[in-house]
Amino acid sequence: MNFPAIRAIYKYEMARFFRTLMESLLSPVISTSLYFVVFGAAIGSRISEVEGVAYGAFIVPGLIMLSVMTQAISNASFGIYFPKFIDTIFEILSAPINFFEIVIGYVGAAATKALLIGLVILATAHFFVDIEIQHPVAMLTFLVLTCLSFSLFGFIIGIWAENFQQLQLIPLLVITPLVFLGGSFYSISMLPPVWQTISLFNPIVYLMSGFRWSFFGQADVSVGLSLLAIALFTAICLGVIWWIFKTGYRIKS
């Protein structure tokens, strides 16, 4: 293993994050606060409770997931897209490193950023609602796994994208709808039966369910299934990345 290289990439990426620390943290904090005002206060006052949990608290896991997923994807995709865009990728390609080390460096940094943002949002949520986390270790595990798997996914998007529009496309077109339809702000059991079945094809339902269970002890699907879903998603992403480096897809001419 070329540890100095992993460290170099990780430090370099984190430095970019800290250079723009305010912007990096401010926008998720502000948008989360807005969600609390709209969903928690305005709508929540009419819904009051979902499955015995105050609606304001019920949406916290969903809000964290929404931010963490979008941040993980955008950080990781930008992290690898940018060197491609400004041609500094030549250095990565000519270095004595393998794909696994490159991925650990870039994805590790992107996941760290997403995790930090997730934790900041959790802290912000504390200002608005009372939340008690029933399974803190499981909560952190789900959070870390989500950060990692979505950073891997973002890495793939960054390599695939040939312009900035494409970089935005997948998060906007795929992730945001899946998150909204994935039970972030409601329980799947509140849907009509047909939609419940359809929802089971949405991978984010499994993540959301497991993550919410770690907060409130209730889940739409079993926790084991949730873990399996994340593991599967991670494995698929790793497989795709392995193929990308093997073939040089969109990174080597």
């Binding site: 070329n2 100095p4 290289a5 460290r7 170099a8 990439i9 430090k11 370099y12 430095a15 970019r16 250079r19 940018f82 060197p83 400004i86 041609d87 500094t88 030549f90 250095e91 990565i92 390609l93 000519s94 270095a95 004595p96 490193i97 393998n98 040089g248 080597k252 001419s253």
Partner: protein, 309 residues
């Protein structure tokens, strides 16, 4: 000693079907400086990119330091430093950080003293905390060189390192190359400045349309191909070359004030003695004579033209 870089029938066909390298073979000895000359689009950058892992060759093989560039890419690449043709740097990063990044990327432990030495050598030490975008074009090029040198390569590829830089940097470059040569670093350099190749290279390779036309010792190349010209200034001008001198194929110039005689140093005899005797037999009195040797540039241009014909 085995060659430090060994290229065997290396081929590269780009995705569009363009054949940029048509089976290039080349051996480079440790410690030598070889200049790769060729017109735009000859395949110089493609060859370097293939050896460095930036582009995948589509045929043939290559070794660096005895390590296959594909199967033992780690060992091979650890030995290689690359200064690319195009300036590509992250604009918002600090000079020192981007240099440290390169060192780490090549698996080397942190060494602040070495980084300082490299930056000082390139007159970048005062700029170490500047962001890349605050630097001038020439300074950016220096940063690229610093990035390549900071991981102590044994084989250094310089892809047109002096294109568009001022005289001072070019001189610095040559000095650095000279220092590296003394340390035993092997250098492969591409350039369009023939005088540069003439000044610093030990060997010259000429590449055109993806094929190596020749690889030869610089001095040998110049004497082998070197045609000399003897210019004879006459005291009194002549209207035409006297018939008696026809066999020498002289050029008349300068309003009949001078005659030029082209000869080949390879030949048995140069014919100079006979020519001078013939001149005095014709009663021409000489004011001055001088010889000039054709430069690499002339050799190079005539070779490209020959291969095109």
């Amino acid at each position: 000693m085995p060659p430090i870089v060994k290229v065997e029938n290396l081929q590269k066909t780009y995705d569009g079907g363009f054949e940029a390298l048509k089976g290039v073979s080349l051996e480079i000895e440790e410690g030598e400086i070889i200049a790769l000359l060729g017109p735009n689009g000859a395949g110089k950058t493609t060859l370097i990119s293939a050896l460095c892992g930036i582009t995948g060759p589509t045929g043939g093989r290559a070794e660096v330091g005895g390590h296959d560039i594909i199967t033992s890419y780690r060992k091979a690449r650890e030995m290689i430093g690359l200064v690319p043709q195009e300036v590509a740097l992250e604009p918002f990063e600090k000079v020192i950080n981007t240099v440290k990044f390169s060192r780490g990327l090549f698996g080397k432990q942190r060494d602040d003293a070495l980084i300082e030495r490299v930056l000082r050598q390139l007159s970048l030490w005062d700029k170490r905390n500047s962001r890349i975008r605050e630097l001038s074009g020439g300074m950016k090029r220096r940063v690229l060189i610093a990035k390549a040198l900071c991981h102590e390569p044994r084989v250094l590829f310089l892809d047109e390192p002096t294109a568009g830089v001022d005289v001072e940097l070019r001189r610095d470059m040559w000095q650095i190359v000279d220092g590296l040569r003394r340390e035993g670093v092997t250098i492969i350099l591409t350039t369009h400045y023939i005088e540069e190749a003439e000044a610093i290279a030990d060997r010259i390779a000429v590449i055109n349309k993806g094929e190596i036309l020749l690889v030869e010792d610089k001095a040998a190349l110049m004497t082998r191909m070197g045609r000399k010209t003897l210019r004879i200034d006459l005291r009194d001008p002549v209207d035409k070359v006297p018939d008696a001198l026809a066999e020498y194929d002289l050029d008349l110039s300068d309003d009949g004030h001078s005659l030029s005689y082209h000869y080949d140093t390879r030949g048995e005899g140069t014919g100079i003695t006979r020519l001078l005797q013939a001149l005095s037999a014709e009663g021409l009195s000489l004011r001055d004579i001088q010889t000039t040797q054709s430069s690499l540039e002339e050799i190079f241009v005539s070779m490209i033209q020959e291969s095109a014909a």
